[in-house]
């Protein structure tokens, strides 16, 4: 009985597929007629377009926008606006189907006009978290101004599992509104994950005013904490010697990830006075720490290289192995 039912469904699906393939061929035919009209670049004749279904116009307009950059893209976007693509996508954002809304949102993210932006802002209150996040990403991409605290609340950032997408979003906002993201770091009651992500996002901006804050956070963090390596990593990326105290402390942390991050940061900032400690770390029991320490010593220049050469000649065991191989890998004289 069950297998007969499954077979009947399957036969029905094959028939439906024949019908959808027929519709698909009509869709492709309509596309073929539309392509030259849109590629011409000039304003398309609406009367000619009348015979082409709306969804074909929408799909092709979005595909063309994705394909090109610069003036051509602007022309395609202007055409899409004239053909009512943003309005149709905004309407689809009211669909009950989450998938339909997500597809419409992907389209809206490609466009740049008031209707699309308004629809994206409305999507920040969508009942689905992924759609809210995607809308925020699209708006950040367009350089829209956010109230960061409000955004954190609306997206529920930090209340779920940490995500790299959050870092990407905050990084994008930090490009145009660094102070808003800085506010997230400095807010006293901030969720830890949001704060760490904000720090990571800001480390790309080269805003040195954050160095004292991150240094204090790093010094206060426990060895086992997940965030300590991320603080040290951010200090390294900022590349300011103000982070020295935290980095030196990090070199002696009980956490492997923190020691490795601190070694990397020491190399990036070129903390010459860390050379000796980095030399000691060539003997660390963890390979990653030895590797990062050797890398950092090379980045320190002559002071580091002499430590490395000493380890290569006079050292023993893992330290010697790390020093000899790293020098050879970088094509340096032992």
């Amino acid at each position: 009985m069950l297998s007969c039912a499954a077979l009947a469904v399957m036969v029905a699906l094959v028939v439906i597929r024949l019908w959808t393939n027929w519709r698909r061929s009509r869709y492709l035919e309509a596309r073929r007629r539309l392509v030259p009209l849109l590629l011409g670049g000039a304003e398309p004749d609406l009367a000619v377009l009348h015979s082409i279904p709306d969804h074909v116009v929408t799909d092709l307009s979005l595909e063309l926008i994705q394909l090109v950059r610069g003036a051509e893209r602007d022309a395609f976007m202007a055409n899409a606006g004239r053909l009512g693509v943003p309005g149709r996508l905004a309407k689809r954002m009211r669909s009950w189907s989450q998938r339909e809304r997500a597809i419409a949102l992907q389209g809206l993210a490609q466009l740049d006009d008031p209707v699309s932006r308004a629809a994206l802002w409305r999507a920040l209150d969508d009942r689905n978290n992924d759609i809210r996040l995607a809308a925020a990403q699209a708006l950040a991409e367009k350089g829209e101004q956010f109230d960061a605290q409000d955004l954190v609340r609306r997206l529920g950032l930090g209340s779920r599992q940490p995500s790299r997408t959050m870092v990407g979003l905050l990084r994008r906002i930090a490009e145009t509104q660094p102070d808003e993201i800085k506010g997230l770091v400095l807010h006293p009651d901030q969720n830890l994950e949001v704060r760490v992500s904000a720090i990571e996002a800001l480390s790309n901006t080269g805003d040195y005013s954050l160095v004292p804050v991150i240094r204090s956070l790093a010094l206060e963090a426990t060895d086992e904490s997940e965030e300590l390596p991320r603080y040290l990593h951010a200090l390294g990326k900022l590349g300011h010697p103000g982070g020295r105290e935290a980095i030196i402390a990090g070199l002696s942390s009980g956490s492997m990830a923190a020691r490795a991050a601190a070694a990397r940061a020491a190399g990036r900032i070129a903390l010459i006075d860390s050379a000796e400690r980095l030399g000691d770390l060539l003997n660390d029991q963890e390979w990653w720490v030895r590797f990062r320490a050797a890398e950092a010593l090379i980045e320190l220049g002559e002071a580091g290289l002499s430590q490395l050469r000493t380890a290569a000649v006079q050292g023993y065991g893992p330290a010697r192995d790390a020093a000899v191989t790293m020098l050879a890998e970088r094509g340096l004289q032992p």
Binding site: M10, Q161, R164, G168
Partner: protein, 472 residues
């Protein structure tokens, strides 16, 4: 009519009842998997285009080391490596491991890419046969070739993982064809849930019959060979129903060695791929479960259907028989090695659901089914069991078998629609029905052979003669 003593009737009914009950429980497990798979497919986010994915993930996607072990791949290695180097992903390194090939695999790589010996400081955390040399060329910064003594696939993958410096490692077979955006798609769980995700598996599809150019599947077609066609149905069932369903239940027990993405540090924590098994891919996933659960860590091992890789399926009975016997041995070896996890409350749903599934489908399944074929029809012919019992057995074997296969196809068509032509769909439907009459029984016979080899402690992989992908 022979008159048997009364106890023989009872014994025959018990045996038949056991066979039918085992079959019914298996079917129930499949139906539950099907339901979970359907739910997962319904809930999955829409497929963004590669451009959208790139815009979304490029800045936050962690580097990946692609580990490609190669043994006697002289004929195809350049095409495979070219395809790997052309993958769309922001930061990745292709590490090809020449596992002591007897042909000119290394020579071809060295000549084609003008590679020179290099030194690289690398970890020795995992056990592997000695590395003879590393080769690279600054003109191809994404390519590193490891030449090592032969030690088998697990050994080669361990060597690659030791040398890799990326936080994520993608293990593949050298002849696996990855779709250009496969890495960008398979990395999604590591971006969206980076702390908990330790491993992700993607879909493997059969490339036989497809149009392939420069290591890329240009047009998906069904194979003309009937064995390969049956395997298309099998793979669909294995990935779309079983793995997706089990992943949704958080009890995924295997990520195929032909395409899987792992957090490198987690692989190191469990000692990498084991050498003493032919089911090293399944065993690695079970070790990860054990390690995480022993330490009471919150973690995720996930399968997602979108990232697709393609592989060549055997088209001859003897090679297919060897492969299936080997897979069976692999499952049994993993089960034996970790049997203390079975029904152990300490391992939660892995012990109760994951291992119960392995026990039912992989350990008991083939033996009980073959026993059913051998015993039930004669028992009925001898009048030891009723016709109702015999019918029940046939229903369990054939009717439900057809249902599960066709229902998976329904799921594929409703949710994914990856087959281009209605004709292909119809052909697969026919294959899904007729595979239950002959192929399925043969498959179970091969698996029983795997059981026999396992019992006799046979080691090794046997031979897999590749026909080579169809080229224009």
């Amino acid at each position: 009519m022979i008159d048997f003593p009364p106890w023989t009737y009872q014994a025959a009914e018990i045996v038949t009842g056991f066979v039918i009950a085992t079959g019914l429980i298996q079917i129930l497990v499949y139906i539950v998997q099907l339901a979970f798979a359907g739910y997962a497919l319904h809930r999955r986010p829409p497929l963004p285009s590669t451009t959208v994915l790139w815009d979304r993930y490029a800045e936050v996607a962690p580097p990946i080391g692609v580990i490609a072990p190669a043994y006697n791949e002289e004929l195809t290695i350049i095409e495979s490596v070219e395809a790997l180097l052309a993958l769309h992903y922001p930061e990745f390194e292709v590490i090809v491991i020449n596992d002591g090939s007897k042909d000119g695999t290394l020579r071809r790589l060295v000549d084609h890419y003008s590679l020179v010996p290099v030194q690289r400081y690398h970890e020795l955390a995992l056990q592997n046969r000695p590395i003879r040399g590393l080769y690279a060329n600054p003109a191809y910064p994404r390519l590193l070739v490891i030449d090592k003594e032969n030690g088998g696939k697990a050994d080669a993958m361990n060597a690659g993982i030791n040398v890799a410096r990326a936080p994520l490692v993608c293990v593949i077979d050298a002849d696996t064809l990855l779709e250009p955006d496969a890495l960008l798609r398979v990395v999604r769980p590591f971006i969206e849930d980076p702390l908990r995700t330790v491993a992700v598996g993607g879909t493997i599809r059969i490339a036989n019959g497809c149009r392939i150019e420069s290591g890329r599947v240009i047009e998906a077609r069904l194979p003309r060979n009937i064995l390969a066609l049956f395997q298309v149905v099998e793979y669909l069932r294995a990935f779309l129903m079983a793995r997706l369903g089990l992943s949704q239940m958080q009890t995924l027990m295997i990520i195929s060695g032909a395409f899987g993405l792992f957090r490198r540090s987690s692989v190191l924590d469990v000692g990498g791929f084991s050498h003493n098994t032919v089911g090293e891919d399944m065993e690695l996933v079970v070790k990860l479960h054990r390690f995480m659960r022993d330490r009471k860590r919150d973690y995720r091992i996930t399968y997602i259907p979108e990232p697709v890789s393609w592989t060549e399926a055997p088209e001859s009975l003897s090679i297919l028989a060897n492969q299936r016997a080997r897979w069976q041995r692999g499952s049994l070896e993993t089960y034996r090695k970790h049997r203390d996890m079975f029904l152990n409350p300490k391992y939660g749903r892995i012990g109760f659901l994951g291992f119960a599934q392995v026990w039912l489908v992989d350990v008991m399944g083939p033996i009980v089914e073959i026993a059913g074929y051998v015993l039930v029809p004669p028992l009925w012919l001898l009048g030891l069991i009723s016709f109702d019992h015999f019918l029940a057995f046939l229903a369990v074997v054939f009717t439900f078998g057809v249902f599960i296969s066709v229902a998976t196809l329904v799921l594929e068509e409703v949710q994914l629609r990856r087959l281009k032509h209605a004709r292909d769909l119809a052909m697969l439907t026919v294959a899904a029905v007729i595979e239950n009459f002959g192929y399925r029984q043969l498959n179970n016979l091969w698996r029983v052979r795997g059981w026999w080899q396992f019992a006799r402690k046979k080691q090794g992989w046997g031979t897999m003669v590749r026909k080579g992908f169809q080229r224009p």
